[in-house]
């Protein structure tokens, strides 16, 4: 049996044992071998890390690949245009890489595509009914909801397995998503969590980049001096408490340690990373296209200060941003403006600071969009389009309004990935499905984890059973994307 290089030994073994069992009439004796190694997650042979930090740029709501990174036949708006002829609503433009074109409106990103690996063949399951929250849950945890245990976010996996890069900085920071007062917020909370790892590994949520500084500052209206003396007074009271010894020491110490950590961050110099107003004006302006753009700036500052994983989202609010059920073209044009300049600047800045090689940037979305097709060919998913027209009469019908799971683009920069590299492709005519090298959510996760130096087989025991970073430890990294 030949071992593939990217396959830690024991999983191959498990697969092999299974195959043997199936092939042989005599039943087979397995030993559920991976658990011998990996009960605590520590004994797994991790691949050598290609990146130390990770930034996920989340295009929430379903970013249409044909209108962004995978242009197809473009037809401008005209009354009477048949919807079935509509593939892309933006013309293609050249990028810094021969043979890679992306959509008009992303000229800045086009210039940095020579630092990118572009995967055009990411695919998702339909799950019967295509719902943003379920697909986002799937993408962010690697598991299709519902699950019997609270499932950790990929940022929590990194926080748990790798720990913080700088002990003062939270390992996992989530930028740009409000979790209160927006539609489906409960569904968003269900995956914006460390799940069974416990909140120590959970996200620090910063919905507004402009207010991030506030989250590590003393409470509003409290001067640093007062904050410091309040903390000092607190310590004094703890020391003076006659119950000091009656309390269970271990738990008390653990609680005080956490209070210490919090105070350390809130009074550290690292907390300046959270304050985007400290950025030089000229640099700030380059990111100042939108909340998302400013989020990219915050992400860069946080990574510089030592955060392990930052997610920046365009924010999921039903029927807004990338969730284009109507006015697709117009909305996507706005989205291009929001993301183009900041993403390119983030790449260039990290490169200039020498951080890009060890920072993996990922642009991804829960699925793509298409003018006609809900799901993928053969899908039984309900068509959720609010209007159904065969020919265009109004501008609001121009755009890609259905949820498409057959071919989605993912872009990676840095973190050991190839530069100016294209992986996978989709058909040029509808259905625009991945025709070469399809990449599942599971394998995409395995790729990301491998880049971070985490074996896709990493497991932790919860309620007496193993739970893996990729489903059942089966994720296979796409090794082709690495330089």
């Amino acid at each position: 049996m030949i071992l593939e290089e990217d396959q830690p030994e024991h999983l191959v073994r498990r697969d092999f044992l299974k195959k043997l069992a199936a092939a042989s009439t005599a039943a087979w004796m397995t030993g559920e071998p991976q658990s011998l190694w990996a009960k605590t997650g520590e004994k797994v042979t991790h691949p050598e890390a290609k990146a130390d930090a990770c930034i996920l740029l989340w295009m929430a709501g379903g970013m249409a690949a044909p209108d962004t990174f995978d242009p197809k036949g473009y037809l401008p708006f005209e009354k009477g245009l048949e919807v079935k002829r509509m593939l892309s609503t933006f013309p293609a433009i050249n990028t810094s890489v021969d043979g890679i074109k992306i959509c008009q409106g992303m000229e800045n990103i086009a210039k940095v595509m020579d630092r990118a690996t572009l995967i055009r063949s990411a695919v998702q399951p339909d799950l019967g009914s295509i719902l943003h929250s379920r697909h986002q849950y799937h993408w962010h945890t690697g598991y299709v909801p519902p699950q019997t245990v609270a499932t950790p976010h990929i940022g929590a996996w990194m926080a748990k397995v790798l720990g913080p890069r700088n002990a003062v900085m939270p390992a996992f920071i989530n930028v740009g998503q409000r979790l209160e007062g927006v539609g489906e917020s409960e569904e968003l909370k269900a995956f914006t969590t460390a799940g069974f790892f416990g909140s120590e590994f959970g996200p620090m949520n910063l919905p507004f980049p402009e207010e991030a500084a506030q989250s590590v500052r003393p409470p509003k209206g409290m001067e640093p001096a007062r904050f410091a003396s309040r903390d000092k007074f607190f310590r004094k009271l703890v020391d003076l408490s006659p119950h000091r010894d009656h309390m269970s020491d271990y738990q008390q110490q653990s609680m005080l340690r956490s209070m210490d950590n919090a105070y350390r961050l809130l009074s550290s110099k690292e907390r300046e990373a959270f304050d985007i107003t400290l950025e030089p004006k000229e640099s700030y302006a380059k990111y100042d296209t939108s909340r998302f753009g400013r989020g990219c700036l915050l992400a860069r500052r946080l990574i510089e200060a030592g955060t392990r994983f930052v997610e920046v989202t365009t924010e999921y609010v039903p029927f807004f941003q990338w969730d284009t059920h109507k006015d697709g073209h117009t909305t996507v044009a706005t989205m291009h403006k929001e993301i183009d300049q900041p993403i390119a600047q983030l790449v260039l800045d990290l490169e200039a600071k020498g951080l890009l090689d060890r920072t993996l940037i990922i642009i991804a979305s829960e699925f793509s969009r298409d003018a006609l097709m809900e799901g993928k060919p053969g899908s039984t998913a309900n068509d959720q389009t609010t209007f159904k027209v065969d020919t265009l009469s109004e501008m609001k019908h121009y755009g890609l309004h259905r949820h498409f799971t057959g071919g989605t683009s993912v872009v990676m920069f840095g973190g050991g990935t190839k530069k100016g590299y294209l992986y996978g492709e989709t058909a040029d005519e509808r259905p625009l499905i991945a025709t070469k090298n399809p990449v599942s959510v599971m394998d995409l996760h395995a790729t990301i984890m491998t880049a971070m130096g985490i074996s896709p087989k990493t497991e932790y025991t919860i309620e007496g059973r193993p739970f893996y970073v990729t489903e059942d430890g089966k994720g296979k990294a796409v090794m082709d994307v690495f330089a």
Binding site: T30, L36, L131, P146, A150, E186, F234, L237, D249, G464
Partner: protein, 809 residues
Amino acid sequence: MLPRISLFFLSVVGLSQAAPIDFSHQIVPILREHCAECHTGDKKKGGLSINDREALIEGSENGPVIVLGKSEKSPLIEVITSTDSDIQMPPKGKRVPPEQIALLKQWIDEGAVWEKGFAFKKPAYDPPLKPRKPVLSASIDGREHPIDRIIDHHLAQKKQPRPEPINDATFIRRAHLDLTGLLPEPEALAKFIADPAPDKRAKLIHSLLSDDVAYADHWLTFWNDLLRNDYGGTGFITGGRKQISSWLYRALVTNMPFDQFTRELIAPPNDESRGYIDGIKWRGEVSAGQTVEIQFAQSISQSFLGINMKCASCHDSFIDRWKLDEAYGLAAIYSSRPLDIARCDKPIGKQATASWLFPEIGQVDAKAAQPERLKQLAALMTHPQNGRFTRTLVNRLWHRLLGHGIVHPVDSMQTEPWNADLLDQLATNFVESGYDLRKTLAYIATSQAYQSTTQILTQETDDHGFTFAGPRARRLTAEQFVDAIWTLTSAAPSKMDAPVFRGKVDTEQAKKIAIQGRWIWGDSAAAGKVPPSDEKITLRQTLKLDADPTAATAVVTCDNAFILYINGRKVSGGDDWGKLAAVPLHGALKKGANTLIAVATNGGKGPNAAGFFLDCRIRMPDGKEITLATDSTWQWTPQFPAASKEGRLGAFDAKDWKPVTLVEAVPVWQKTIDSQAPALLAQGVSGSTRMIRAALVKGDFLMRALGRPNRDQIVSMRPNDLTTLEAIDLANGQTLADALRKGSSKLASEKWPAPDALTTHLYRHALSRDPTAGELTSTREVLGTQPTPQSIEDVLWAICMMPEFQFVR
């Protein structure tokens, strides 16, 4: 070395001659050395146990590992022989030497003879099912409480000292927080300490537990976690999930016996408690292990039996005795369709037969209809011989009050308790009390074991098994912490999210309520006419409110059926006009214009009386009460909306709204209203003066940060540690800071004879004790002679951050 040499010698002989194998001396040592670590005792790697012969013959999760008489066809020999590191056994470490392999081959060829009764390890603990009344040891030092007699005996056996008793102040704080979730008020503290009555602790316990509302407010959190009930969240948006909040709260307020409580959850008498077994119906496809039927199997097993059925609902469990068939048997009790068994998401071509886990006390009739099957399951679950059910519950309560389960973790009821007598005594007492939850709490809280000092833990404390050394300090739950903050600062919200009535029916209040609703219908009910059967109409009313209401209660009914929508959302429905339901509407009614739409249907055969009735009392933040009732200002249309999808009223735009007809009440209608409506409306009014409790509102940022779970899954134990991110929220979170600021302004505006008086008040309220001289001095340095709101805020924060505050100790 000698034995090994002789073994080698023997094996060589064994190959050439037919000298029979000596199992005990030749085979056991080999298996023990190479296989036992992963395949004996509780260990079943790959589903294989060789603990005894029966288990060995049964084989692994993939089938037999030995073929008797044919070593060459036995996978066991193949894997120990193989040099391929991908398949060899043992997977790591020393290989099995050839001479030993030869012995094993011969042994298999001879039929794998096993010494009768031999097992590598004692069989894994198998908990008893039936209840047992333990024989109590003699009491020591006059400590008569059965719990103390058992624990004193336990300590004597382990030669461990008895933990010290706690003083009155520690006791009153602990009892208040444990039984009602609130800090004792300073006045109550002083009065209790001064009370010379020898039985004052028992009296306090009983008086706390008799406070229906405070008890229900507090224990709601425990039950919401265990029954995964919430006021919003996954599934609710798509109508795939129903709350049981109203039912649950009422069950707690009325102290419904737990056997009845369980029966109403498993076999719901009506829709109010149905949400528990119906689980979460997700839109789209789910894996075979997460269908509503399997969720039912998992939920029932975990909530009531402390069994983790999650493994077994995908494949035979590797960690305990439960099998795939058993999980599906439970699921089939609930299923109203034929249920294909799937192993790891792939159908195995076999259908599940409804059955439950402990046939020794009876079985469900698989041929009966679903409601009957559920009733049978409910009866079996609460069967007097099902000791597992009562043990599971009392163990949960013990865990809540003493910080560590008698079986721990509490959902591993398949494992051994640290003291079976204690568990069985509690369970027996629980049954004798009539499955009374409050009496059981009192039973535990009145013991000296409960009333002793908390154990000081180290990281190594349980390394050598559990020994009782007093209760363990428990971190305040998110709800307890927030309630405590709200108590200290008067910063509680004025409106709750939980659709519950806080209190029992107030008969005095009921007498004061005059019903204002009239029966209404469309033109077909005009004078001299009788509405046709099956007539379906839509009724509407709009109501403008200046603010969000603080409380709102409606009684609503229809002859024959109705669905009521407020602002496009279904809030109620019914088809039995003889039974009125009170509907809490404080969540549905909002500031601004509210639209009420009722779709009403007449039933019967041939023309017959029809009418819709609603009477709603709304309390506004300024205390004003508004009545909204069916009357002549309502409108109707013969059109009606399409069937509602997921609880939402779709687009409905009728043009021909006309004034309704007031219908003269049929005497039986009137009887229904007169006998039921005032009490139901009064229910909504009582309890409204109490502080809104954290358990009654949706989890906010602070509560989530402090460990209030997302209730997609059942939660039976919350984390006990404060994490750094939580600490950051405590240090600078806006929610907490706002509450503290509000409380400080209030405290600053009150007259304090001296700053020390304020400090003493805070210590008494927050920590149930007086500050020491040192604490007074230090606090005085912060407060100065004229405490400002700001300095009070800092002192309040510091006190609330102390571990002494953040734990029930």
